[in-house]
């Protein structure tokens, strides 16, 4: 039994030998938001690292954009975030009167959701404007404000979710087959009990 060629024949180095390359540090971090239905809110999806915003968007489409049906993807460089809890600080403030995106985290542990836009001079004013006018911002645990023109978003006709059958990568793509096959081994009542366990365990 042989492995694939890459895995069977890769050039090996002495594991005791020190690494030939010097440490190089990380690429820039971008936060990714995804929109799951047309005109719906943008939801925090996660982070990734990329050489620049254009590549960040391409890479985000092929990772976070493919985890579920998705209509748009947006990336924001971490240096373009200002966070009400001081975790992120905007590196270069934009000109006065800039439009800001406002995302809020309702309670600790929740994901950030983009809730609206405000116009303001500077991040502090944007934060105040958000609390005054964006739904839920006044009571949110944390607010993020982002100069709107620094967010990079897919175009309306960009393809994100694929056109081919994607059920192979989703749990629901297997449920019917699995159930049908189980009936060869278990009767209905045992199967129903097993499926209740499924729900408890979030399988």
């Amino acid at each position: 039994m042989t492995m694939s060629r890459i895995r069977d024949h890769f050039p090996r180095t002495d594991p005791a030998a020190p690494l030939a390359s010097a440490p190089m540090g990380d690429l820039d971090p971008y936060v990714v938001f995804t929109q799951l239905r047309a005109n719906g809110p943008f939801l925090y999806a996660g982070w990734l690292e990329a050489p620049d915003a254009e590549m960040a968007l391409l890479l985000a489409r092929d990772h976070y954009g493919r985890d579920q049906v998705c209509t748009a993807v947006r990336v924001i460089h971490r240096a373009d975030l200002e966070s009400s809890d001081g975790l992120y600080t905007l590196a270069m403030p934009p000109p006065d009167g800039t439009e800001w995106l406002v995302a809020t985290q309702k309670r600790p542990g929740d994901i950030f959701i983009e809730m609206g836009r405000v116009r303001a001079a500077g991040p502090a004013a944007a934060m105040d404007a958000a609390r005054a006018s964006v739904p839920g911002a006044a009571t949110a645990h944390v607010i993020w404000v982002i100069p709107a023109d620094r967010a990079v978003t897919t175009a309306p006709d960009d393809l994100i979710w694929r056109t081919t059958d994607q059920t192979y990568r989703l749990a629901r793509g297997y449920r019917r087959d699995v159930r049908e096959k189980w009936t060869r081994f278990r009767d209905e009542s045992a199967l129903a009990e097993y499926e209740r366990d499924d729900l408890t365990e979030e399988f």
Partner: protein
Amino acid sequence: MSGSANEGVVVDPMIREEDPQRLAEFEAKMARGDLIEADDWMPKAYRDAMLRMAEHHANSEIVGALPEGEWITRAPSLRRKLALTAKVQDEVGHGQMLYRVSQDLGKSRDDMLRDLITGKTKYHNCFNYPVPTWADIAMIQWLIDGAAIMNQKTLADGAYGPYVRTMKRINMEEAFHFRSGEDMVLTLMSGTPLQRGMCQEAFDRWWGPALMFFGPPDKPGAEHLPPMRWRMKTVKNDELRRRFVNRFAPAAIDLGLRIHVVEKDGHGSVIAKRPDERAVRDAATGDWGYTEPDWNEFFRVIRGHGPCNAERLALRRFSYEQGHWVQQAVLGRRAGLPPAA
């Protein structure tokens, strides 16, 4: 696939050097069930332990991509080929997200990758076992991913916000891994004698590592020690193992699989087996019994002497060294690209 459970999180006595007032507030938050965010005050021991846990988990994801990756080129149908590729890809994605959680606790991804391939940090034990047949792929996705979901579901009830959010997202994807594994096991056990035989042999190889997945038996009073008191872990190893066996032992038996106690050689091949007589349901408690896995083997593998430790690290190292020039070429490029010609 989760890697955090069997690391054995150790929190050193540095806690005593912390500001007592802040520590008391932190402990009170923990007791109330509040979540901690990256910028909240936390004892250094907590930050360090959380970093070790997230880093170990991230390492496990990207090393965990290797054993199953071996079979992508040999998957027996287009759908299975797609599914296995997507599954391994998900593991890399989970690793990427968990490295981010770790980076925010103070260590660069590059340093973490370098520490992994030079053996300074660890990853989950179960990836040090061989994957000699296609049926092993089915068994890993059914048993090991099943165990991972059971574990990660409890980790998603933890206290550290960034880790909790990542667990929730990961669990959503793991459901596909488990379901696809279950479908493969069901297909093989519904198939030809050759397929059922492959499946039984793979089950014999993976039942032990699956029991070990949740880590060694708990220390006495584990619930009062920092990992549980600080909700880095929320359920004891033995309790998770009990839940796992109660679900999977009867399922395996109904499928026609036999639960064996096995003896393995240094390459991870089964050289002797006998039926596990404890694998029956206790009428009084309702719990299924099992024979404890070989914990000596577990600690031997953790110390680096498992069947595939060297192989896994060598391939990860190849990947890092082969790809080094790519990251090097685009570091610090945010300023932009040359204009179109």
